[in-house]
Assembly symmetry: C2
Homo-oligomer: 234 residues x 2
DNA sequence: ACAAAAGTGTTGTACCTACACCCATGT
DNA sequence: ACATGGGTGTAGGTACAACACTTTTGT
């Protein structure tokens, strides 16, 4: 019975990370120039090690580049076209993650040549990494419309106008600030702080932070969508 | 530079299929007893071949069991825990598919011991296949609430009451037939036929079929969700 | 006092929900 | 004639979309 295993071809298994960040103005993806491919920008990636799960490997790779832990990470898709890596047949599992750029800036390991690129102005990418980024952007848009994950891209304390700008950037559109803030606040997901943001505008906007227990709970319940009768929306 | 590849460990790559079907009453999953594991039910699966993409392999494996082509197929998740297959380390990419059971019945290859199980009454499964099925059910619920994929589980011609029963089964609930049919018909996705279903009820229900061009178009546009301003729904 | 961004209020409309009755047909 | 499922209609409430004005404060 173990025979059946022995006859099979093994393949290399890689992980690639689409790392999103938000600098206050536009949505960015973190790209690197790898040692062996000096010419081309690519996603941060690495190989699956024998003792790791896929998620552990993706977490490790993210840490190696950014020094960050406790980051939002979600499996995007496995890519396995026979020709995707022209040197050796490789199956790559892509993950996307949402990081707070301020944290990143302080922890970046300089071993990598890395740069943030606006999602609307990407360079040509290695292999099928362009497809991965495309898919990740669509997935982020899809997901952020249904789940409150945008916060993962903002600092602990942020203002409603900042949050609106983030959503403007994700969807490349312009939300109505009145409806936007009403909708966001109606979820009771945000706790208003006493503190105001100084320097950016004259009046200054109030800081908010996420109500973590409620966030966890909401995230969990949204994953188990059992639409109330008649809540099918297409 | 090729050195970097050579140092890496290769792994076996498998595919597993969660095959959903609907028999008119409840939502089912197709399970098999594999040659080497006579004792345990498992998902239909197979190995990735050198010349195949992941999707091609999943399609082939589905065909080998059911004889079906042109089936709804979607990548669910890659599973790669070091211990998931106790014999050899294997990364498995799970796909879920939606089949029309009537088609299947006529094409089933008898080489496999296969059976439909209600999703609410599953046997213990091999390896992590139970997790895969759980995730697939959640994904199907999630997706079917937002995209009109339920049709994939019904014959070409079906009635509104049949469609409602399908959704009742998916969500283990009881939709209101008046609101349900209004909602479905308001999408203009269904074309009413002259023909009535005979035998099941005295009055007989009209058959409908999917307006394919509109279905394709809707499917496409729903995948590129760009919410109209303020259409964030959480 | 003025500019620039923050913050709040209103109203029409569309859709969702809950609920009740009539219709067609096989027995 | 009656039982069984099929099919439609209505009204109240909720949430969304579109839109305009006031507030605060640094210069």
């Amino acid at each position: 019975m173990v025979e059946q295993y022995k006859q099979q071809h093994p393949y290399l298994v890689a992980l690639d990370s689409i790392i999103f960040g938000f600098d206050g103005e536009s949505l960015k993806v973190l790209l690197v120039k790898r040692g062996l491919e000096e010419q081309t920008w690519s996603l941060m990636g690495g190989w699956l090690q024998p003792d790791e799960s896929l998620e552990q490997a993706a977490t490790r790779i993210l840490f190696e580049l950014t020094g960050l832990t406790n980051v939002y990470l979600e499996q995007l898709n496995a890519f396995g076209d026979p020709q995707r890596d022209p040197i050796v047949r490789t199956v790559s599992v892509a993950y996307f993650s949402l990081v707070k750029v301020a944290d990143y800036a302080s922890k970046l390991t300089e071993a990598f040549q890395a740069r943030w690129f606006s999602i609307y102005d990407l360079p040509p990418l290695l292999f099928d990494h362009g497809d991965m980024v495309d898919l990740a952007i669509r997935r982020l848009r899809y997901k952020a419309a249904l789940h409150p994950i945008g916060f993962e891209l903002l600092p602990e304390k942020f203002t409603i106008p900042q949050l609106k700008k983030l959503y403007d950037a994700i969807y490349n559109t312009e939300f109505d600030k009145r409806n936007f803030s009403r909708k966001i606040l109606s979820t009771n997901l945000l706790i208003k702080l006493d503190e105001k943001q100084k320097g950016f505008s004259k009046r200054g906007a109030f800081f908010y932070q996420v109500d973590m227990p409620r966030y966890q709970q909401l995230t969990h319940s949204l994953l188990n969508v059992i639409p109330s009768p008649d809540a099918i929306s297409w």
